[in-house]
């Protein structure tokens, strides 16, 4: 074989040989995606950590794909040797989403799982961690879901300062009230 593989392609191949039916994609420099099923995720994370040297856990993020009815969980891990960000992505059903608890692999995941449970309502069976994390006494739908309308909630709950809707130019009135002159350079920005 005369062709030389980049470090990203080597990683993709390593993952594909270890796991059947795993789709990998070399996206750009230092970034590799792996699209895994829900069951594969923890074994991929463990394999990458133990065998491939991806010892640093970077990020766990959840994306709401409302249109296709799925949540996407993205685990990002990083290796100090190859310096590649490996994205392990998996899709969950949006109805009753639940995901395997992985906080024994990296203890940081604990915090991320607490946040995702609270913000998206994704359950992690077997996960111990305090229920309330960021919100307090929250009774509505999990707020980071895309079908939660924050503006509507705001209109229902909070007061608004009157007069915010009218778009009058009040600078002259304020200037008159406090007895100041509007400087010349500012006049050209006037809306009138």
């Amino acid at each position: 074989m005369g062709t030389t593989y980049s470090k990203e392609e080597i990683l993709a191949q390593q993952l594909q040989t270890a796991f059947e039916h795993l789709i990998t994609e070399v996206v750009r420099k230092d970034t590799v995606f792996a699209f895994a099923t829900k069951e594969q995720v923890s074994s991929i994370l463990l394999y990458a950590k133990e065998k491939l040297g991806y010892i640093s856990f970077v990020h766990l993020s959840c994306v709401d794909w409302l249109e296709s009815g799925e949540f996407e969980l993205v685990y990002i891990i990083w290796s100090p040797e190859t310096k590649i960000n490996l994205f392990v992505k998996t899709r969950l059903d949006r109805e009753n989403p639940s995901m395997e608890n992985t906080d024994m692999i990296w203890r940081q995941i604990n915090t991320y799982q607490r946040e995702i449970r609270e913000m998206f309502g994704v359950e992690f069976p077997g996960f111990v961690g305090e229920k309330e994390f960021i919100l307090e006494d929250w009774e509505d739908a999990p707020p980071m879901r895309r079908d939660f309308d924050t503006l509507e909630y705001v209109n229902d709950t909070f007061f608004e300062r009157e007069g915010r809707e009218d778009k009058q130019d009040v600078r002259e009135r304020i200037a008159k009230r406090s007895g100041e002159e509007i400087p010349d350079f500012a006049k050209k920005y006037s809306r009138e």
Binding site: E136, D137, P143, T150, Y153, V154, F158, F159, E160, R161
Partner: protein
């Protein structure tokens, strides 16, 4: 005690003079505006020369600075802290987000209008206000105190039910003790 200026007796005058020249500011950074407070208190702006100094606990403080947005979770603590402070007490709303929500106008977790929940004596606008405007806010508060018009605490006592109603609208679980003065 809070008469209008014409009726101020000499005692009121002395009291207001001491109150305006000695403002103990509670060390509670409720929002991101707290980052300009160190600058306000240090060498270039030095608010201590105007009699403003920090106080560690609400019991000792006269002045509560709401530095920026208030999430509902903090609002509960702020109300508690405000009620623990001793009269006379003043509140400065600091930054645009306390006035009308500022850039968080559509955020589900921050309140938009501070003066519906606790009485505010002076607002300082800007995001974030520069130390100069913070100091000018202090001076405005001093002017109000000297004139005997900084009567937010009195308003709060008189309209306690109205404030409570607003507060309970946002804070669903209300574990606070009902104070009676």
């Amino acid at each position: 005690m809070y008469n209008d200026k014409n009726a101020q007796t000499i005692v009121d005058y002395i009291q207001n003079f001491t109150r305006k020249n000695s403002l103990f500011m509670l060390a509670y950074g409720t929002g991101c505006g707290a980052i300009e407070l160190p600058a306000t208190l240090t060498s270039r702006y030095d608010a201590e020369r105007l009699g403003v100094r920090g106080a560690a606990t609400p019991r000792q403080a006269d002045l509560l600075l709401i530095t920026g947005y208030l999430s509902t979770k903090t609002l509960k603590r702020v109300i508690r802290v405000y009620e623990q402070m001793q009269d006379p007490k003043y509140v400065i709303g600091f930054g645009s987000c306390t006035i009308n929500g500022g850039m968080y106008w559509d955020s589900y977790n921050t309140i938009k209008l501070l003066d519906k929940y606790i009485p505010v004596d002076v607002y300082i606008n800007g995001c974030m206000p520069r130390p100069e405007s913070v100091i000018s806010g202090f001076q405005e508060l001093k002017r109000l105190i000297a004139a005997g018009k900084a009567d937010g605490a009195k308003k709060y006592k008189e309209n306690l039910e109205w404030y409570r109603e607003n507060q309970k609208k946002v804070l669903k679980n209300w574990p606070l003790v009902e104070y009676n003065w």
